[in-house]
Amino acid sequence: MPNMIVCCKQVPDPEAPPVVFKVDSTTNKMTLPPDVKPVIGQYDEFAMEAALRIKDKAGGKITILSLGNKLVRDVIKKTLAVGGDELILLEDEAFEEGDSWSTAYALAMAIKKIGEYDLIFCGRQSSDWDAGQVGLGIAEILGIPAVTLARKLEVTDGKLRVERVIPDGYEVVEVGFPALITVTSELGSLRYPALKGIMAAAKKQPTIWKPADIGLELSQVGAAGRRVELAKLFQPVKEVKCEIIGGETLVEAGVNLATKLREAKII
């Protein structure tokens, strides 16, 4: 029965309407109105679902690992409500403002501390910085193989069989344990938690680890451990203005659109 670890990141809801995303140019930070609630990164949810599907068939244990500061318990506990067994939070002010490097390093050290693992799952990329580096970084630091962009997984004879998305289809990749897998959206959405799961999750307390608990100095985590510096965050000005084409009926609007495109020499 595989021991599994799923890395999940709490992010501002990426499905929030684009107009609410505002950069504060004095702090170089994204600001969002308070009604935009944090969520688990969408790709991390697919990673969680991947682990659950393996647990459905092969059993095993799922430990969820999340890094940040002031993590919202109701948000992150969703991973327990859907069927995760244990929740470990790397939670400290010092973990804030990290880059892919310092994040992957801290997660890898936490995984070493957990000790026993067969499979580690990450989303293909975060839903805020969209870098797509942390999963592969963890695998490199731990010295284990990694398969990216998984859309289907199956454990057979102590090995993992992965359908990996490639440009014109998919390839089937076999990998032994332990391995790290990054998961893409084609795998399918995270299941809804059952009421029983929600109630059980409410009673569970996460384990909290500080940098010292995973053997790291403050200079190695978060902003202090970055390899890539953010020089500027900005929002480019949009120049396009949309001309809405109407008509007495929608059929007429369709005809008018075609005429308009001809006039504008687009067709």
């Binding site: 998919y170 089937v172 893409t184 084609e186 929002q235 949309c242 007429e252 659109l257 067709i267």
Partner: protein, 333 residues
């Protein structure tokens, strides 16, 4: 400590040729190398390279490192990583450029972590800071809702570049350059994954990346059928291809190969017709390079109208057949 110098492009080969992403990387790398007054080199690795080293020179490379080995026929992380890592250690480049492609996404983070350096993925603009000589790396973040400029002071500086974000140079076969055949010992005991099968999901008609016109459908299309009828008919009239946003691909209404967006294909056609697509940032990231975006959506508040040049507010089931019919008339006349 080694002196880090020059720019190197990690080229790709598709069907024995340099794909457009590689010539775009060479175009971008040429500008950066000229700014630094240093050389641009290109790494090409496969079982056999044919004429591609000469092509890389014609598109801007000063030096081409060629690695030919039967084990490099198909991309595999554990073999390709050895090649790039060993070459990077040998020549100590200042900057490594890769494509934000299937290969680049898989390889670049492994390489950066193995070399102990930073990486920015999916860059759309690169320049040299005149004072620090560091590479300024601009990439979209928050699903395209903002852009960030990064720099990295550990060497080499590694970036991946989004398709169609950079322009290739005009091909010039009279350009001179040096081809350097390079032997890399590939340790097969380090190959920990095994590809047992490759399955092509066939897409008929015009390829999405090459199509001058793309007719894309979103969640609001409601099912697989209209992609084969209403949207296909419109695409056919304009000699274009059918695409989709993420929900139709995730729901299996269309093959993943048709998915346009941040995590799908990046396209830049002359005309992009977005039908029943709300215009989430993740989708816009895949089509914002289009010359003309035209939107049909029943929700007047849909974000897609902030991106489009022309739009119709209404149910696509009524608008599109009339639009297609009129276009057919206009194009016949």
């Amino acid at each position: 400590m080694a002196e880090y110098k020059g720019v190197i492009v990690c080229g790709e080969l598709i069907n024995g040729k340099l794909p457009s992403i590689t010539t775009e990387l060479l175009g971008c790398g040429r500008n950066l190398a000229d700014d630094l007054k240093e050389d641009l080199s290109c790494l090409l690795a496969s079982d056999t390279l044919g004429e591609t080293p000469k092509e890389a020179i014609a598109f801007g490379a000063d030096k081409v490192y060629t690695v030919e080995d039967p084990s490099l026929k198909e991309y595999q992380a554990d073999t390709y990583l050895q090649v790039v890592e060993k070459l990077a250690s040998k020549i100590s480049p200042r900057i490594i450029l890769m494509g934000q492609t299937s290969t680049g996404r898989d390889l670049a983070p492994r390489l950066a972590f193995r070399l102990g350096t930073g990486l920015s993925t999916d860059c759309i603009d690169l320049s040299i800071d005149p004072e620090t000589k560091l590479l300024l790396q601009t990439k979209p973040v928050y699903g395209g809702n903002a852009q960030a400029i990064f720099s990295c002071s550990t060497m080499p500086q590694v970036v991946t570049i989004r398709a169609k974000a950079m322009s290739p140079m005009e091909r010039d076969d009279s350009r001179k350059g040096e081809v350097i055949p390079t032997k890399v010992e590939i340790d097969m005991s380090q190959v920990r994954t095994k590809v047992t099968e490759k399955v092509k999901e066939e897409v008929t008609g015009v390829k999405l990346e090459d199509a001058p016109v793309i007719v894309s459908g979103g969640r609001g299309i409601g099912g697989p059928e209209p992609f084969k009828t209403t949207l296909k008919e419109l695409a056919d009239v304009l000699h274009g291809a059918v695409g989709a946003s993420r929900p139709p691909a995730d729901n299996g209404w269309v093959p993943e190969a048709l998915h346009v967006g941040l995590t799908g294909k990046i396209v830049a056609p002359d005309i992009y017709i977005a039908i029943a697509i709300s215009g989430a940032s993740q989708h816009i990231a895949g089509c914002s390079g289009s010359k003309n975006i035209i939107a049909i959506n029943k929700d007047p508040e849909a974000n897609i109208f902030r991106e489009a040049k022309f739009g119709v507010v209404g149910r696509y089931e009524e608008v599109i057949p009339a639009f297609t019919k009129k276009l057919r008339e206009l194009l016949a006349g």
